[in-house]
Symmetry: C2
Subunit: 219 residues, 2 copies
Amino acid sequence: MPRSARPKRSAARPASAPKPYHHGDLKRVLVDAALVLAAEGGPEEVSVREAARRAGVSPAAPFRHFESREALMSAVAEEAQRRFRAEIARAMEDAPADDPLARFRKLGLAYLRWAMRNPAHFAIISSRAHFDHDASVEVSRDNAELIALAGDLLAEAAAKGQLRPLDLVTARIAARALVYGFARMHIDGHFPRWGVAEADVERTAEAVLDLFVGGLVRA
Amino acid sequence: MPRSARPKRSAARPASAPKPYHHGDLKRVLVDAALVLAAEGGPEEVSVREAARRAGVSPAAPFRHFESREALMSAVAEEAQRRFRAEIARAMEDAPADDPLARFRKLGLAYLRWAMRNPAHFAIISSRAHFDHDASVEVSRDNAELIALAGDLLAEAAAKGQLRPLDLVTARIAARALVYGFARMHIDGHFPRWGVAEADVERTAEAVLDLFVGGLVRA
DNA sequence: CAATGATGTAATCGACGTTTACATTCACGT
DNA sequence: ACGTGAATGTAAACGTCGATTACATCATTG
């Protein structure tokens, strides 16, 4: 029975058709499944076998597309990084072009907001424990750009006389430590202990950021 | 529980004697082995089997003393927490008793110093991922005391008019986010990317802390 | 000194990452 | 249209891990 026109990789294959031997877009599906697994149970819960299971494929299949679990995690990290970068870029668009300190604040807010809402994906991006950062140009480049952006904004603000006298390199590192620390406190479950309810986390993040920026400005 | 219960069996067995069936102090030895494993390869590298191997005991033996890997990690966390607390206490002893802001700074420095020198143990203490915080009263209590101490010092400083007008709760959270973030940047391997060499990390930590405290004081 | 409980071992289980040999299908040159 | 090689799937296996079970050894104590 010649199955005349096979929907090779067209949209949804009819529900009655038998599962085709080839998946069509397994690589992408595996990454998506891994993203979901991470979101559900944290980065550690991502397993190659479970991703394969959810993709409806044998345990060995993923290894046709990823050398190892770490390689899969790298792909996951790159997708997460793309989303993160997109959110940052969007936030910077509607920030006042002429006020570097306001832009700096907006940058911090966007960083924190995304981290609060995508804790597992943020965790994957942010720690060497989950994939090989050195092997992923994209994540490295994005990160370098973020660092540079924050540094430039601080330098502009200083040039405009908005800041008290301080070392810009130190300020840049302190700013990063502040937002990264806040994000990790959230990820690592500190806030219940600090009396900060889940619903208040974003508000608290803003208050903390404002307090920090307030400490940078000239009195 | 004093740690004096040493020669359960008469004396240390002569090197030539056959290995006795009972180990004598397996629980302690397992925790020590796990601490070493963590220090060598990070918290994730701690395995029950490897700890058993290093203790010269069968893979099932540890389960006589710990219900699960997580229980072992809890014991590890409690030992690490003891060491951390001791270092903090020591640092607070030689801090000026009458200058709350100086004490606050000293507290931050001690926190960072220990975290820089014991990254894996700090990581274990600091994240729910590695053991069940809620099941460990000791770690919870220590942490609450640390939070309270920082809060009290800030409040004292405010009462003495050392601080600019600010919300103390927010300042406390910001301070923690700053030091925790710095510590995690170190753990998660951010600093090479930030142009901070390993040798400069403690110096940088001090600069960052000073910049933050400088932002709290009244101008 | 015998009973009992504490603490060890051996064997086993299921989940995982990964590899190997083999099966199926796609893509492309003739 | 065909046939062949590359791409992509499966099945089965290996070793490691956490964990459980049945059994062995030993220390304590009535």
